[in-house]
């Protein structure tokens, strides 16, 4: 359905030239804004994204996963132009671009966005149809607009009547569909989906995922799919990027990353997903919390939480290593992928205390 032949070859390159590409982008936020701090040179900056590279082509889905605060949403905002990178470059069809103000109308229309809190991204005093029509170019005639709104709503399996309703009148699934319709209004080649199904129940989630897959097939759109739920990403993504503390720590074809993770963080994320089958081993928490972005640890940013870490990880920041089809930023990527690296702390194998029924 969505498999592109290039992916099976285990290559990061796909059949199309990338629509959007990030090259070593950096983004910092200032945490302390007082004038005195600045004068004294005390202004600390929090690194939200450090040297991330990623490309998205038409017709493919690139999943970005990681815990909250890892920089996923910042990465998405750099692609859409809501933020301007502090370092590195964002390329749209090969042209380097900055934030919204510097992009041309044509460039802006290449990318559609489905925002994280969809309901809040609609103006509560505007009908859904009017919000969708706002994305149209000025060349469309008023009567064409109505047809176009109806057409968009039908594409996302909504009754055209929904166009005249207000956001507060729609259910969670309906407003999500309306958000997708709005993102498609200007025929984008790339849609950025920021947590499109979080907060929805399983049944609604399934219909939205199915709709996204269907729209991708029909329009050959590329998706940048951001989620903290690996189960959802596994369903839709062709390629996967795992982020930790603003860095991409592992990337490669989604299937390979899921089947044979070569970074301990990816491994930990996968182990934390509760399986639907009660006979499977219980999910394992990842102790500790992500590092303070304004005070990053030396060496590998994951080493304080990593069960495999040793002296080298504390001193030296790992570069990307190629392990079969995936790339991983871990000194011990090869051993991890083969399963030969043993755990230093012996926290593995902890099982659920007991199940009372038999």
């Amino acid at each position: 359905m969505r498999a592109s032949p290039a992916n099976d070859g285990g290559n990061d390159e796909t059949r199309h030239a990338p629509v959007a590409e990030l090259r070593n982008v950096e983004k910092e936020f200032e945490t302390s804004r007082s004038v005195l701090d600045r004068l004294l040179g005390d202004a600390r900056s929090a690194k939200a994204v450090c040297g991330a590279s990623l490309s998205i082509s038409r017709g493919e889905t690139v999943g970005v996963v990681g815990e909250s605060g890892c920089g996923k949403s910042t990465l998405a905002k750099l692609v859409t132009g809501e933020l301007t990178p502090d370092g590195g470059s964002v390329l749209l069809d090969g042209d380097s671009v900055g934030g919204y103000p510097t992009r041309t109308g044509g460039q802006l229309r290449r990318i559609g966005v489905v925002f994280q809190n969809v309901r809040e991204s609609f103006d509560s005093r505007w009908s859904v149809g009017r919000s969708i029509a706002e994305s149209f170019g000025h060349e469309q005639q008023p009567d064409e607009r109505v047809d176009r709104i109806d057409d968009l709503l039908e594409q996302v399996n909504l009754d055209p009547q929904v166009g005249s309703r207000y956001p507060s009148e729609l259910s969670g699934g309906q407003i999500q569909r309306a958000g997708i319709a709005r993102a498609l209004a200007h025929d984008p080649e790339l849609v950025v989906l920021d947590e499109p199904v979080s907060g929805l129940d399983v049944a609604t989630q399934a219909t939205i995922l199915d709709l996204l897959a269907e729209l991708q097939r029909r329009h050959e759109i590329g998706y940048l799919f951001i989620s903290h739920d690996l189960g959802v990403v596994r369903y839709l993504a062709d390629r996967l990027a795992v982020m930790y503390a603003g860095e991409i720590v592992e990337r490669g074809p989604a299937r390979d990353v899921f089947e044979r993770p070569s970074h301990p963080y990816t491994e930990a994320l996968l182990r934390a997903v509760p399986s639907d089958d009660p006979t499977d081993p219980p999910p394992e928490p990842l102790p500790g919390s992500p590092p303070d972005p304004s005070n990053r640890p030396t060496g590998c940013p994951f080493h304080p939480r990593c069960p495999h870490a040793d002296g080298q990880c504390e001193r030296q920041h790992p570069e990307f290593k190629r392990v079969r089809t995936t790339q991983s930023r871990c000194h011990y990527a090869d051993e991890l992928a083969d399963g030969t690296r043993t755990n230093n702390h012996g926290t593995d194998g902890e099982r659920r205390p007991h199940r009372s029924d038999s």
């Binding site: 219909t207 994320l269 509760p274 999910p283 102790p287 009372s356």
Partner: protein, 365 residues
């Protein structure tokens, strides 16, 4: 059953709206035993949260029209406000979905836990002025004791550095830590039953696993009953002993998780499981449930799932649906109770007599 802690029997909770009476809970029955974690799953709008609120009698503006909620032998549907206040505080605690909104942003976490300890502290006299913190009226020793207990509770729910964290404010805590703090508040009264309404939905999976593990540990330490409400099947499968599947305000299927989630008998449970994108093979398509959940205005005649069910017959749309106990403790409210999805015939289908029991979702009698 001897160690049954909570029993919900044919509960009906209604809301009045402009469109008519909404039958949010429409005859739900289930039970929770001591030391048992029971999962309540279903789509949004199926009545899970209203059921939870009805149990602690916070169903307002809804009203319980019929049914019985017995907790430890007491009927909560008939209890007066004073009894309810005691039960809510001391016997049943509830943890809500969003820890951002349940903690007070202007008080340190430790104080909020201590306050909860102090409220349930029956041994010393309490007055309004004591709680307002007016120094001459403040019972210093009792508050100091409560603060020590708060630190102890924080330690129990695995908050690192409990002494230091007690002085921190909610915004200084991460989402997972805030949810742990809420657990500590809920545990302050040493409850017999903990109701957790989507406790991990707003959290990362890595944090979620920690909170779920915490719930097992607490259950094991205190032998409390837990009612865990979630729409995430994985969470229920990995945490609970028994599961109650709700739809349209009614219990569709209930039983041990190992049976219900591996060999579901009710078409709705099966549909719900098929919706989950997890454990799907490559290029398998997720299946979707056609249609939307039923409008609960006016209640249902027959099975609420009939309109979306592939196996529905005209019998499903009228009259009462019998609840069949297919295996001990595994109850299904379906006329068909067809062979399960793995292709093996169910016990009932293989010729063993079915026992038709009262509409009920509890454990074996």
């Amino acid at each position: 059953m001897m160690n049954e802690l909570l029993r919900v029997e044919d509960l009906h909770t209604h809301f009045d709206s402009d469109q008519g009476t909404v039958h949010a809970v429409d005859g739900a029955s289930f039970g929770v035993n001591r030391g048992e974690i029971v999962g309540l799953v279903g789509e949004s709008g199926c009545g899970k949260s209203v059921t939870a609120r009805s149990i602690i009698r916070l169903e307002d503006p809804g009203r319980i029209v019929s049914g019985r909620i017995s907790f430890d032998g007491r009927d909560l549907t008939r209890a007066d406000e004073a009894t309810l206040r005691r039960v809510r505080g001391e016997d049943i605690s509830i943890v809500f979905q969003d820890p951002h909104e349940t903690l007070n942003p202007v008080f340190p976490i430790g104080d909020q836990i201590a306050e909860s300890v102090r409220i349930h502290d029956g041994g010393s006299s309490q007055g309004l002025l004591d709680f307002l913190g007016v120094p001459p009226f403040r019972n210093r020793t009792a508050w100091n004791r409560a603060e020590d207990r708060a630190v102890e509770l924080m330690e129990q729910v695995a908050i690192p550095d409990p002494n230091g964290s007690a002085a921190e404010y909610p915004h200084e805590f991460s989402g997972g830590m805030r949810q742990r703090a809420m657990l500590a508040v809920a545990l302050a009264s040493d409850p017999n039953l903990l109701i957790a309404d989507e406790p991990t939905t707003a959290l990362d999976t890595t944090t979620q696993a920690g909170i779920l593990r915490q719930i097992w540990t607490l259950r094991d330490q205190r032998d409390m009953g837990v009612l865990l409400i979630s729409h995430d099947i994985g969470v229920v499968a990995q945490t609970c002993d028994r599961v109650v599947v709700m739809y349209g305000g009614q219990v569709m299927e209930s039983g041990p998780v190992d049976e219900v989630l591996t060999a579901p008998k009710h078409p709705y449970t099966r549909a719900l499981l098929e919706c989950s994108p997890r454990n799907l093979g490559r290029d398998e398509r997720v299946s979707t449930l056609e249609g939307s959940p039923p409008d609960a205005v006016g209640g249902h005649d027959g099975c609420p799932f009939a309109d979306r069910c592939r196996l529905a017959t005209s019998d499903c749309r009228s009259g009462d649906i019998p609840v069949v106990e297919s295996d001990p403790g595994h109850r299904v409210a379906c006329i068909e109770t067809p062979a399960d999805s793995r292709g093996t015939p169910t016990v009932a289908a293989s010729g063993q007599p079915r026992n038709v029991v009262a509409p009920d979702g509890g454990d074996e009698k």
